[in-house]
Symmetry: C2
Subunit: 452 residues, 2 copies
């Protein structure tokens, strides 16, 4: 495809090029433009019908957008901005350096400019920061026929026309209706009589994650956003919500892996930034393992009497960490899907207790068999009875798995109760706690069963 | 709210109850019905307008659905099924025991029954298994006016009317158009002249995860599904795609935490099932840590000469595991968002190398300082020089972090290249490999610097 387009440019077959491009979808054209030499981009761009050009522009990488804005004439930039929805303009602005932002604002019409500034001022992660202002508003005393006239007149510039918002003279949101309902109604009927008045809406300052949960629950196409006086100020459409969901997933996964969340794709993030996102938790977790070191240090006599015991520390700590991680990750996901609440803690503890007994028993028996078959020589070299040491390690394993699962499942709920984000309490943190517990159990059991 | 409804039932104020309920959204009514005594559910259900009742039914928990189906009369069940979209009926059927499924199929009309059977036969996770058949189809020779007549006549039963599909006489998909476009066109225009012919579609056997990626890319409201002969057989709507995205995310997180994916919410899964999902990886990882045990066993002489070295094994292994986990999780997420590909491997290795040097250096220096301040006594008790041991541990830390990050970032890409799912290669597996490497480095460095 790219080769075909380059050939068409070089042979100056612009009519054919234009028709080839017009058949493509905007995201695909944007991908092609990322791959061709920069000097051709503007030429191709000027061939596209205006509306398609704007759609393509929105889909491009920030670097290419910046390059294009730099070589656009003022008129070209203004025409482009006229075609772009305000929420997309805001997204673009957020990636641009200050001088480009100034140029974009200068070329927007005054009303749009003030809207952009308002949206830019909403807190990051708020509903206001992702909304757009291109919605269809109707009045309750319009007829269905008049509503269609209004949609036909203004609809072309709206991000969605399928959900229409009914406002009173003070712009308070009093109802919603859909094009489907309008199509099935008599043209003489009043909007006020057919509109749905039990409207679900969000406040500009609501968390965008909350917006995603409401979308998922109610299967909306678009969600109205109101200010403190319930005046309609914008809408959020489902495509932006899919982006929010994907972004939240990335953040959740990063937190679970003890990384500070970052907004940029990996390949666009500098090594220094990646370093800054990763080092805080690494440092904290490293320092917190001082405890495990201290525990081992204080049992130095036990260990020097039976060095073989050391050989099983990694297995015990690893299995404990994995067991605890499984429980904590399951609970964290359940919390974030609202499937699990504080009220379920007893049910969860009971469930995890049984699960950990089953898992611990299977692991302990397998481990006992494995040690008797494979590890006899290490143990005998330490001057201990293989059966007794295998028993000590296996019993520790069982106790560790039970503790790990109980800590792993209860810590996230506790943390959420305290008002923090449970995702940061996942595997690494649980692991550190479980490590310390498993070592204490190990040495206690070893000292009661083994003779030194 | 629940109290209010219970009072209304008990005082038999059914008119008021009906109007209270009709003001609510289906998902909220479903939540209320889960909370009230079972004997009232059917009574409330019969008060609801038919369409709303069907929407509420779809949102309810499988247990409540089964209970209701059991007490519905045949006529009630048939009327309800008439109102439910086929994809939702399929979702319900998948949760029901065989006798209930038989009853549902018996009460569906023959055409719907054959459609349900077809959808049930598509492989799990395929596009066909989540599609629905209630879409608006138009013909190319219709006028816009005729298209609206058709939408008005059939639209009430369609899952979406906003995207309309144009098919030829053999049901081949030849174009799409939207209600927005239709509204902005002259009623005399032909559908064939205004339809978009470059249609993005999926095959019934395509992976549903792939459908989600296409939705995210093109911001569709609905995606047409075709069979092997490109005949239109159904559509997938955006609300189902949000469910797919959430489900895939849960599966990804479970895999990263070494859990076999499960479909059911945590609280609905029995302890035995949870055990079955968790034990395989726990066993595998426990047995694989035999290697680390062997490594420690083979350096038993080194350790018994300086037991203090044991005290730092958990810290080294923990930090190595966390460092590798950070890298692998970042890369896995990038792979699943299509931000990273096989071709980026050199760029990634270079980036991770620098990141790991920075992280390793900071951690090593901090650790050196910490050991000199806090751990002197343990080391001296072992008869070693604190400066030298701190140096050995810190140098090992640096080397471990570099190895961990390089293993962590390259393993997922390698695994994907081999055709497996990179998510299963995340933290726990990386940890096991990194554990072994870090121990080998530790003992090598210790033996070259320390005198025994």
């Amino acid at each position: 495809m790219i080769d075909e387009i380059l050939t068409l440019i070089e042979s100056k077959e612009f009519v054919k090029l234009r028709s080839t491009l017009s058949d493509l979808n905007a995201p695909d054209i944007a991908l092609i433009l990322e791959e061709i030499p920069q000097e051709y981009i503007l030429r191709i761009f000027r061939l596209l019908p205006k509306e398609l050009a704007a759609e393509v522009f929105v889909e491009m990488e920030p670097e290419t957008q910046e390059h294009l804005i730099g070589i656009f004439s003022d008129i070209e930039l203004r025409e482009m901005l006229d075609e772009i929805f305000v929420d997309d303009t805001v997204d673009i602005i957020e990636e641009m350096p200050a001088n480009v932002v100034k140029r974009i604002l200068r070329q927007s019409d005054p009303e749009t400019r003030s809207q952009i500034n308002k949206i830019l001022n909403y807190p990051k992660d708020s509903a206001g920061s992702i909304m757009t202002i291109e919605y269809v508003d109707l009045k309750a005393d319009m007829t269905v026929g008049q509503a269609f006239d209004r949609i036909r007149k203004t609809g072309v510039d709206k991000e969605t026309i399928y959900t229409c918002y009914v406002t009173d003279s003070n712009r308070h949101l009093i109802g919603i209706t859909t094009v489907k309902e309008l199509l099935l109604c008599n043209p003489e009927e009043k909007i006020g009589d057919i509109m749905e008045t039990n409207v679900i809406f969000v406040d500009t300052f609501d968390d965008k994650e909350n917006v995603a949960i409401l979308f998922d629950k109610y299967d909306f196409l678009a969600m109205p956003v109101v200010d403190k006086e319930t005046r309609l100020v914008g809408i959020i459409t489902f495509d932006d919500v899919i982006d929010v969901i994907q972004e939240e997933h990335t953040v959740d996964i990063e937190k679970m892996a003890a990384i500070l969340p970052s907004e940029k794709p990996y390949l666009k993030t500098s090594s220094l930034e990646i370093f800054k996102n990763r080092i805080p938790w690494l440092l904290l977790l490293m320092l917190s393992s001082t405890f495990t070191g201290k525990i081992i240090g204080s049992f130095e006599n036990t260990l020097s009497a039976c060095v073989a015991l050391t050989a099983f520390i990694p297995m015990l700590m690893g299995t404990g960490g994995n067991s605890g991680g499984q429980a904590s990750v399951t609970i964290i996901r359940g919390l974030s899907l609202n499937e699990i609440g504080m009220k379920d803690i007893l049910k969860i503890l009971k469930k995890e207790f049984f699960v950990s007994l089953f898992c611990g028993a299977v692991l302990a028996i397998t481990n006992f068999a494995k040690m008797m078959l494979i590890d006899q020589s290490i143990i005998v070299a330490s001057g201990q009875d293989p059966v007794l040491v295998s028993f000590v390690v296996s019993l520790t394993l069982l106790a560790t798995v039970v503790c790990a699962k109980l800590v792993g499942c209860s810590l996230p709920i506790l943390v959420k109760r305290l008002g923090f984000d449970p995702a940061v309490m996942a595997s690494p943190f649980v692991t550190t706690i479980v490590d310390a517990i498993s070592l204490l159990i190990y040495f206690e059991i070893a000292m009661s069963f083994l003779k030194f």
